[in-house]
């Protein structure tokens, strides 16, 4: 079994006219790689009506409806995160409730609010209630605020994780840009933070550093925007880890942190 924990699909109400081709390409590449489950989130309208990382309430609702539609179209291949914008606590509750009813299995936090902000405590409480992991968008070692996102780094995610030790937090795309060495030092002693290996970065030494920092028990395989780099990392991990350790990264750790029964065997 191979579980991709960091997946995005597009839909018709985004700036991308090629949205359908990109979705099809993901499914096709997934078949070649051998992906059993794509765990996906949609970030609003991907900037068409509201900013990608600051989705409006309407775009949050639309994105979650689209996510549930994609899951229903691929019930044996796709699972979904509920997207929330913590700046709207009332909507957080209602969207997660709809997500639970619609079969979603996790929560996606973009970069709408600092990860250690008290507004995220309510999100984490709901995650604990439903045994949902929380996938947090991360800028690896934010040195300054970037336009378009209130980027958090691992230090802030770890503050939130320490306040909610019963919730699994996924530090997004260690290869997605920024100083991953900084992130790996930060998460080392916070056992409920797992590292998602996705991102276009394929730096030599990065995977060794991930294993050294958190061990194979806290690594999750994923792709995000580049499935080719995901495949390359998978191949390299086969050289780096024992078969049992590799199985943890491919699926074992994901099965452990998502709700029971999320990934039935084919």
């Amino acid at each position: 079994m191979l579980i991709d924990v960091h997946v995005h699909f597009l839909h018709s109400l985004t700036p991308r006219r090629d949205w359908r081709a990109r979705n099809e390409s993901r499914i096709r590449a997934g078949e070649r790689i051998g992906i059993t489950w794509h765990v996906s989130s949609i970030l609003g309208t991907w900037g068409l009506r509201s900013p990608i990382y600051f989705p409006s309430q309407a775009d949050v609702t639309l994105a979650n409806e689209e996510q549930r539609r994609i899951v229903s179209e691929h019930p044996h291949l796709v699972r979904g995160y509920v997207l929330v914008n913590p700046n709207y606590p009332g909507q957080v509750t209602s969207e997660i409730a709809r997500g639970v009813a619609g079969g979603m299995i996790g929560i996606k936090l973009a970069a709408s609010r600092r990860a250690d902000d008290s507004l995220l405590d309510g999100v984490a409480d709901l995650a604990a209630e439903h045994h949902f992991p929380v996938l947090q968008h991360i800028w690896q070692h934010r040195r300054r605020d970037m336009p378009g996102q209130e980027a958090s780094d691992a230090i802030e995610l770890c503050r939130l994780a320490r306040r909610h030790p019963g919730v699994s937090f996924i530090l997004a795309h260690i290869g997605g840009g920024g100083d991953w060495l900084h992130s790996l030092r930060a998460v080392r002693h916070v056992p409920n933070v797992l590292v998602d290996l996705s991102g276009s970065g394929v730096d030599g030494g990065m995977l060794e550093a991930c294993v050294a920092a958190v061990g194979p028990e806290r690594l999750l395989w994923g792709t995000d925007l580049t499935m080719d780099t995901g495949l390359a990392k998978l191949r390299y991990l086969a050289h780096l880890l024992s078969p049992a350790e590799l199985d943890l990264v491919r699926h074992g750790n994901a099965v452990r942190i998502f709700p029971a029964g999320s990934f039935p065997e084919a």
Binding site: D179, R235, Y236
Partner: protein
């Protein structure tokens, strides 16, 4: 058969990188089915005189037939022309220059003189757009990325110049290719180390738009995982002949 045109030997100053020795590179090549590698000396990119790394590189390549040397030239230093002649005598497969790391104008007169010298020596000239993602570089690693305008200027500066550009992404490649005449763009080759596969499918798009003849198999190892270009080709819908051109045929046409 695979020829990796973008491989390095030696340590990197800005972070710990495993697998930088000749033996480790050979092991990685075996693992990823790479037959030959065009190798450059990584430490000397950051030396005041990068040409001081060339003797070691020639020695290593002489001892290992699977390696082909890509020695460095710094055209703002006196008597650099002698190093080009020496590269030819040492059967180098190409020569490289890293103007942004040497703080020289990437399209200035010394660079144009080097382009002319490489053309006269019938040696392709290799340039890298970047070595690492700009978002993660060391605070003191401040050299700018190579501008696309410089590549256009260099290929225009000599009618028989041949450029091999590594670590370029889709936008960079398109800007240079469609900003050049057909004759100019036919003298530029791009490695696929930084060109995304699915679901964005940049590589598939570029091959359809400008043809497989322009692309070379390159990894950037050991700074980047050597598994990457192979994974990229594995996920690409392309017939065997076109795949072979990228994997080795185009590089062989350049002499490698």
């Amino acid at each position: 058969m695979r020829i990796d045109v973008n491989a390095w030997l030696g340590g990197y100053p800005w972070r710990k990188v495993p697998g930088t020795s000749p033996d480790a590179l050979l092991e990685a090549m075996d693992r990823t089915h790479i037959t030959r590698a065009w190798v450059s000396h990584l430490p000397s990119v950051f030396w005041r005189d990068p040409m001081e790394g060339n003797p070691w590189l020639y020695q290593v390549c002489k001892a290992e037939p699977r390696f082909r040397a890509v020695p460095a030239i710094q055209p703002a230093l006196p008597h650099w022309e002698e190093e080009v002649a020496h590269a030819k005598a040492q059967r180098a497969v190409a020569i490289r220059v890293d103007p942004m790391f040497h703080d020289i104008d990437p399209s200035g007169q010394p660079m144009r003189d080097l382009v002319a010298a490489s053309a006269q020596a019938a040696l392709p000239l290799m340039v890298a757009v970047r070595l690492e993602d700009g978002r993660q570089r060391h605070p003191l690693d401040v050299a700018a990325e190579l501008p696309a305008a410089a590549v256009r200027a260099l290929v225009r500066s000599h009618p028989s110049a041949r450029l091999v550009v590594t670590h370029a992404d889709r936008g960079f490649i398109e800007e240079v290719h469609f900003g050049s005449t057909p004759d100019e763009s036919a003298r530029i080759w791009w490695d696929i180390s930084w060109v995304w596969g699915p679901p964005e499918d940049h590589l598939e798009h570029l091959i359809g738009a400008i043809g497989e003849a322009r692309f070379l198999f390159g990894s950037g190892q050991p700074l980047r995982l050597p598994e990457t270009p192979g994974a990229r080709l594995e996920l690409l819908d392309i017939d065997a002949d076109r795949r072979a051109a990228i994997e080795h045929g185009n590089a062989e046409g350049l002499g490698g």
